[in-house]
């Protein structure tokens, strides 16, 4: 077959464009151990940095003696806050409008806080010398409970003494950070006061950690001859890091090159700026040599950004028939020692105000109080858009609690409250405009797929058997219908440190008809090189296999805000489609010139422009590309390229229906996921195989969080879960089989209708697992029990319900 005889469908298939389950091009190097991560980077004369960290959660730093460390052969420098202060770098701004110590300035506020930074010829010497830095501490009272912190006389942030106004409004107490209010308080409270039924519950989403396979790290290399700083690092937002480094170091932005090489997972952990980056840059500037810093696993779990830690008190009002009439939520948010949440500037609690979920709730009110405690700072979106997991967990628990109060089936309660397909675009009571959705269709498909009626019948029989002493295992059916809000976001209301949250793509077509595309995002395993090439393939008719993707080098890539919050496809994916569409008009003119017809007499046909009415007369994109470089076409510049900076008009709202069937042993607390069904609607599907992989990974992380993963502290502020022995990462053994399914409701405002999917499974998965545990015990009187549902906590539920005789 050749270009003449192939059908349009065959030609489209050859492009491996959108909809194709194309294999990931990245995996050739990853599966052969040929990836290039930060710790693989080796530069001549490279030094190594290591931190001295605080063993105390709250203490005054009386003195730091570095003499013994400096005496170790091979030690080049030991930095403390005193050394950074003249440069103004002993503190750094956080993404949340607060500031954070780079190295302990007089006191420490969490266990694992950075106190001194040792620079040595190799990492072994650095580790030995770090042991010899002699720090004298004076212990202070520790606050690990945010409710206690708001009552305590103990002042955690002495640097803020007397400041009653924070970055997000008034501070009510010396350990209070902000209050963020959304919705109509008076109207909501009026509805609660008059409602037939009000269900009230405290829902705690515990503190956990993204724990990417690769920890955080960087290599800073200051070239004193050129005055140029190159900073390699595990950055989810390399361009923003460049701007931040420029602003806080005083180096001109054009003299800074930030490179994110291959990244071994981010999940939000690699969005923020860490002390290690600042200290490495300073050390390289001081020594004139490259300096590498890579955290170990314990440092990663103890000191870099955590996730969640939201205490959400909810009230939900409904009629006797189950129609929800109002929702009220007050959240106490534990931010740790510094407010280093990674959220758009105007959203100190992220998009927590998506907490009305998939339901048509006429009136709602949300207030969030941020609080300082003696825990690590952070509060990142761990495989979710900003605080959306918290919001989804809250509403999906409140629905279950309301179902108990109404003595109603929770599937039916959801169905009668879903926003209807014809209500989109839907204006939510807390201020969002949902772009599109068809929740009833997805819900009915999911219930049918798992034979929901059959499962309930089996569960009823199981309860009988249990009561008759025939079994000690319960059956839980965990339901979730979630709505995400991703793709931050419109520059008019979304920025980070004043940088609008647009994103970008630049496409350059080479003479032979292959291409390179550069984006402002950075893949950490998402498969951008695979999927974005597919968008371009479908848009401009060049095979995806002939398109190279490049991200992460700020000297070559167009400016963008990076990859987190499922924003790459909604924002950079849109920029990619728009850049491709900018190339088409010029290609059309070239084709018309070559075919000797008027521009308007050719039309697009999969991979070519053909003369209208004479499809046998055409020029393929490959031919057009060559002509762009070798023909002197009147009125046209040579070359074929375009760049697009895309400012999305709205967020996208992916949704899904997840159902988990779980067996629970009431005597040991052991659980087994018998079935997990995940229906995702992420709008237009670019690569079904990658979507499936994302869902598998995201549900597995959700399983971890719901069933055991936590960052736990004792009352002294010691981290109790600082290694992977105690911090739960599921292996293949603990990971169940998943059934994936989908509906397709395209986003009306996105150029290709795509909504993003990477984080949906974590948003929907956690409530599905947790609801399964709750559902198993519902017939025995359980209303609410906090995650993580590890063996002993499940056992405690059973024990509390008198099930151990």
């Amino acid at each position: 077959m050749n270009d003449q005889t192939m059908t349009p469908e065959e030609r489209a298939a050859n492009l491996k464009g959108m909809g194709c389950a194309r294999k990931r091009v990245e995996d050739v190097r990853f599966t052969q151990g040929k990836g290039n991560y930060v710790d693989d980077i080796k530069l001549d004369g490279m030094l190594f940095g290591a931190f001295v960290r605080s063993p105390y959660a709250h203490a005054r730093v009386v003195s730091v003696n570095k003499d013994a460390a400096l005496a170790v052969p091979g030690v080049v420098a030991v930095l403390t806050a005193e050394d950074l202060a003249p440069l103004g770098l002993h503190w750094m701004p956080t993404l949340a409008g607060d500031k954070q110590m780079v190295l302990a300035d007089g006191k420490v506020l969490f266990q694992g806080q950075e106190v001194a930074y040792v620079v040595a010829e190799n990492r072994y010497i650095a580790a030995d010398a770090a042991e010899l830095v002699d720090v004298e501490y004076e212990e202070l009272p520790v606050l690990t409970d945010p409710f206690e912190a708001l009552k305590s006389d103990v002042v955690l942030r002495e640097d803020l003494a007397g400041q009653t106004e924070g970055a997000h409004g008034p501070r009510k107490h010396h350990n209070h950070i902000f209050t963020w209010e959304q919705g109509d308080k008076d109207a909501t409270e009026a509805v609660l006061g008059e409602a037939d039924v009000v269900a009230e519950e405290m829902v705690y989403y515990h503190r956990t950690h993204p724990c990417p396979l690769e920890t955080c790290g960087c290599v800073a290399s200051m070239d004193k001859v050129t005055g140029k700083l190159t900073l390699y690092g595990t950055f989810q937002a390399p361009h923003a890091i460049r701007t931040v480094v420029s602003l806080i170091s005083g180096l001109a932005e054009h003299n800074i090159r930030v490179i994110s090489p291959d990244i071994g997972g981010g999940f939000g952990n690699k969005v923020g700026a860490y002390a290690g980056y600042v200290c490495s840059v300073v050390a390289s500037i001081v020594t004139g040599q490259p300096v590498k810093w890579v955290e170990n696993r314990m440092e990663n779990l103890m000191s870099t950004a955590f996730a969640r830690d939201y205490w959400m008190r909810g009230k939900i009002a409904a009629t006797k028939a189950g129609k929800i009439t109002g929702l009220w939520c007050h959240t106490t948010a534990d931010h740790g020692g510094f407010d280093a949440c990674a959220d758009p500037t105007k959203f100190p609690a992220g998009f927590m105000n998506i907490c009305t979920g998939s339901y048509d709730i006429p009136v709602a009110y949300l207030a969030v109080d941020g609080v300082y405690t003696n825990k690590a700072p952070g509060g990142v979106a761990y495989r979710c858009s900003f605080r959306v997991t918290e919001a989804a967990y809250f509403i999906e628990r409140m629905i279950e609690v309301l179902a108990i109060k109404l003595n109603m089936d929770a599937a039916e309660l959801r169905r009668i409250n879903f926003i209807k397909a014809e209500q989109f675009p839907y204006q939510s009571a807390l201020g969002w405009e949902y772009d599109s959705g068809d929740y009833h269709t997805a819900w009915d498909k999911a219930l049918k797929a798992v034979d929901y009626e059959g499962l309930r019948a089996e569960q009823a029989q199981r309860i009988e058997d249990f009561k008759a002493g025939k079994t000690r295992k319960l059956l839980g059916i965990g339901l979730t219908h979630f709505t995400e809000i991703v793709g931050a976001g419109p520059v008019k209301n979304c920025d980070i440190l004043g940088l609008g949250m647009f994103d970008s793509c630049e496409i350059r077509i080479h003479p032979t008809g292959s291409a390179i595309a550069r984006l402002g995002t950075i893949s950490q395993g998402q498969g951008h090189a695979t999927t974005f090439a597919q968008i371009i393939a479908s848009e401009i008719g060049l095979p995806a296999d002939d398109i190279t993707l490049e991200e992460g080098d700020t000297d070559t890539a167009p400016y963008g805000l990076g990859t987190y919050g499922s924003r790459s496809t909604p924002v950079a994916g849109a920029a990619t489609a728009m850049a491709a569409r900018k190339i088409r008009p010029k290609a059309q003119m070239i084709a018309a010139y070559l075919l000797e017809v008027h521009d308007n007499d050719v039309e697009w046909d999969v991979d070519r422009f053909a003369v209208k009415g004479a499809p046998e007369r055409f020029k393929t994109m490959k031919e057009i590309a060559f002509a762009a470089y070798n023909q002197a076409i009147p009125g046209l510049e040579p070359g074929l390229e375009a760049v697009s900076y895309y400012d999305p008009p709205n967020m996208t709202y992916p949704f899904g229906a997840y159902i988990c069937v779980m067996e629970i042993d009431v005597d040991t607390g052991e659980w087994e996921v018998r079935q997990f069904y995940a229906l995702d609607d992420c709008g237009t599907r670019i690569n079904p195989m990658i979507i499936e992989g994302q869902v598998h990974g995201g549900v597995t992380e959700a399983l971890a969080i719901a069933m055991g993963q936590e960052i736990a502290y004792d009352e002294m502020g010691n981290v109790k879960t600082g290694t992977l022995m105690d911090f739960f990462i599921p292996t293949a053994w603990e990971t169940p089989n998943y059934t994936t399914d989908h509906t397709v409701t395209p986003s009306p405002h996105h150029p290709i209708g795509a909504k993003g999917v990477g984080e949906s499974p974590n948003v929907g998965g956690v409530p599905a697992f947790s609801n399964a545990v709750h559902d198993a015990f519902r017939p025995f009187g359980l209303v609410q029990s906090h995650m993580p549902h590890d063996h002993w906590r499940i056992w405690k539920i059973a024990n509390g319900l008198g099930m151990h005789g």
Partner: protein, 277 residues
């Protein structure tokens, strides 16, 4: 996660290894599979000047299955325990337990000698060896001596082994063919230590019961065994609950562990009884 510096020794025979231990005293430690010691060294909770690697010593290898006795060289790996068919026929309990230790990668390196000699109450093999009434051969400057597994453990990480001795072989009497055996372990995930684990042998009017990670040593209870030998499961469980002394940790509080210990023990007993002749 970077250990302090140390000298590395790799002797080729037991006598040389003991010589190194004599020379450096408590500055030296032997290393077998390293899966307990190396993490401790990386955390700098274990620091020693001299590390004596036993892997080049052929005398410490090999599984011998006799009609009355099985002998295991201290450097036999968990993987070798699992894949040795003769051993699985003679004492199936060992394979059943070894399969519940860590994961395949760890089992390729982890050794039975290291597991029993380290004295970590979380390790599975010490309780198993007490259940089986194994004895440990200790080689030192004054020659060899034998200590029963049931007398070996004194407290967490403290055993009857002297600093200059090496645990070299393990001898296990082969239980009768009609003795049912079972190893039951509850853990949070693959690679975790037991929340509670039980090794049970029962049959022929005899019984032996030991439990793991429920005290600072493995717990073998003569009384529990006697109750079980007499067919009284409740008595056995009650005696064992009396003998254990769990502490609260991330796996749960004492109350939970005691409850689970009883459940795990009953399940092990059920399975062992169903396998008895």
């Amino acid at each position: 996660m970077i250990p302090a510096g140390f000298e590395y020794h790799r002797p080729g025979d037991i006598a040389s290894a003991i010589g190194i231990l004599q020379e450096h005293g408590d500055e030296a430690r032997v290393i077998a599979g390293g899966h307990s010691l190396i993490p401790m060294m990386k955390l700098r909770m274990a620091e020693m000047g001299h590390l004596v690697d036993l892997q080049a010593i052929d005398e410490l290898k090999g599984i011998e299955v006799g009609s009355d006795t099985v002998t295991l060289g201290a450097m036999v790996t968990q993987h070798e325990l699992i894949t040795h068919d003769g051993l699985a026929t003679a004492i199936p309990l060992i394979r059943e337990a070894a399969l519940q230790i860590a994961d395949p990668q760890v089992r390729y390196m982890g050794t039975v000698g290291g597991n029993v000699a380290n004295g970590d109450p979380g390790n599975d093999m010490p309780g198993l060896m007490q259940c089986l009434n194994a004895s440990f051969e200790l080689s030192g400057p004054d020659g060899k001596r034998s200590v029963a597994a049931r007398d070996f453990y004194e407290a967490a990480y403290f055993t009857a082994r002297e600093d200059e001795e090496i645990l070299t072989r393990i001898s296990i009497p082969v239980p009768g063919a009609d003795v049912g055996q079972a190893y039951e372990k509850q853990k949070r995930k693959i690679g975790d230590y037991a929340t509670a684990a039980a090794a049970v042998m029962v049959g022929n009017g005899t019984a032996s019961v030991a439990m793991t990670n429920l005290a600072d040593t493995p717990i073998w209870s003569e009384e529990a065994g006697a109750w079980l030998a007499g067919g009284n499961v409740d008595g056995c469980v009650a005696a064992m609950l009396d003998a254990i002394d769990p502490v609260a940790d991330n796996r749960g509080p004492v109350e939970f562990k005691k409850h689970v210990a009883a459940v795990v023990l009953r399940r092990a007993i059920d399975r062992a009884q169903s396998r008895a002749g």
